[in-house]
Symmetry: C2
Subunit: 139 residues, 2 copies
Amino acid sequence: MSEAKVTYVAGLQFIGQATSGHAIVMDGDAGSGGSNTGSRPMELLLMGIGGCSGMDIISILKKKKENVRGLEINVKGTKAENYPKKFTDINLEFVVKGKNISEEAIKKAVELSMEKYCSVKATLEGSAKITWGWKIIEE
Amino acid sequence: MSEAKVTYVAGLQFIGQATSGHAIVMDGDAGSGGSNTGSRPMELLLMGIGGCSGMDIISILKKKKENVRGLEINVKGTKAENYPKKFTDINLEFVVKGKNISEEAIKKAVELSMEKYCSVKATLEGSAKITWGWKIIEE
């Protein structure tokens, strides 16, 4: 069981705190009556899928002793036009930086995360079509 | 289009930043090789559904001139036992605090969020069965 408490502050500002204890500020933009002091709730889903898959990939590549010097995940989410405007498509681009990294190792790590391990991806794919690609930057 | 960039820092620590510009730290627990410096990615989904529905409900109740003095959303997520351990069930309890608030107004606001407006709920319900309840605390 994973738990979170979300508490209203003012305007459209809310503080979220979950089992691990870390707090996050959420807010709406000015157009919706908020003050933009924190993340939009829908943004948390995109950051979550990036962090979840990133942790998988780093863990796998470290076990394989690959010389990874950096990893960036660019996540793009497309929403339905009509309410409730759920995510219909999410694309992830994994940009791996390192020295002499095996292309095969990256491919395998990304596939293991996307097809086997990433809990956030598995939760979101019930609604959104999730696609991904990857590239290596030698440095 | 909503976008996020998630950048690897060290250990299992990642920084996420989305279109609105606010950054969030994500990390794993010690058991998985992390250092617990930030939220677990799966926690972001629970905080996201709480914030999303909370913003809807506050907006609706303010339009109705209800005297709301507080709102807390308690979110509980149950994960599948096996990988990828997606959320299978999510329960939200809306605790509204205020003076002489109309029960009918609360019921209607919660239903409008859950059944019509909340984008995060609509995205997560593709995988997780989402249930909810509410109570009013007179104060």
